[in-house]
Amino acid sequence: MDSVHDMGGMHGMGPVEAEEDEPIFHGDWEKRMFAMNNAISALGVRNIDESRHARERMNPGEYLSSSYYEIWLSGLVRTLTEKGLISEEELAGAVAPRPVTTPKPALSADNVDHVMSKGGTYLVKSDLVPAFDVGQAVKTKNIHPAGHTRLPRYARGHEGVIHASYGVHVFPDANAHGPDRPQPLYNVKFSSRELWGKDGTESDFIYIDLWEDYLEEVK
């Protein structure tokens, strides 16, 4: 979806400002928010692409004026509500919590290190043969799906070169909305001048991970 989360190349955001002390968490609420989001992942009720898509559907004005863990809060409540696992009425304490079932049990403290050290699996065993070769020129499609996509706006309709071929991967555009449609993932190299025209810089290059569906042959 074309919203403000897709901010590569936007103007007017100001200087990059590093904090002086850079605490890992700012206050207890950030710790709890970070932990809840990860603990929920262990239940098998939503995948990473649904999670990202829930965050990017936040109202654009609110997204830009929120801290990152506020965006996580918005996304987690949205997802759990849409999945029927919680309701705003329950959150407000207006009704008693209803019992729910999940594919996997809640993450236990004993299992945290194991689960986090294992991580997810995004590479898919498949016989699909990549349509493009390393070194081949490709062009990104000019697509504007209303749903989730990981093809940034700034990289649409541009020519690049396949830099690396990463194998068949879970496809976020499908996985965020229903059955997955795994496909080859590539890293594509673009020149800054190709992406930004005369406002680009001669010896700058941008490397972006892109799925096969985003790409077409350069004739």
Partner: protein
Amino acid sequence: MAHDHKHGDPLPETVLRVKSLESLLVEKGLVETEALDALIDRYENKVGPKNGAKVVARAWNDPDYKRRLLADSTAAIAEFGFTGAQGEEMVAVENTDNVHNVVVCTLCSCYPWPVLGLPPVWYKSPPYRSRVVREPREVLKEFGTELPNSTEVRVWDSTAETRYLVIPKRPEGTDGLSEEELAELVSRDSMIGVTEALSPNSAEGD
């Protein structure tokens, strides 16, 4: 201004809502309080940029390890036991005299947790995400990093589950230093690619 509450000064309703959400999830059996504590402890105290610094220091010191790291980064990093969430598929990219690499996630905040821990606020912020793909040299200047025009800049936008780790250039004057001493020079920012590694004369850690 809207972003005044961004750093450690949340709206009271945000704090309250997070508390309500945790109470509700615990009551429903969807999360366990002790598991949340363990997750916080892991990423506050156990997993952080000291991990990545060990990887880089070994790559500087051991040519065989560097070859393995560049050929199969995930496996080479796993030799240290650094694996898992947000680092399932690692790719290390090497700075040289002619090439400088820098990493971003323009769409959200993808960051290699097993080697760098959790991202700093600026990495997740609109200024960094919007600008570093368009004017990386200007952004680097704000971090005090001036690159000659002849240096090629490579910006890696983490749009998939691949996570990029920059191997900064080994600083001058570090011959004979041990891996532990070298690791002290490998700052978090140098592994994101916004700065160079610290020089042995100025090193004060991160």
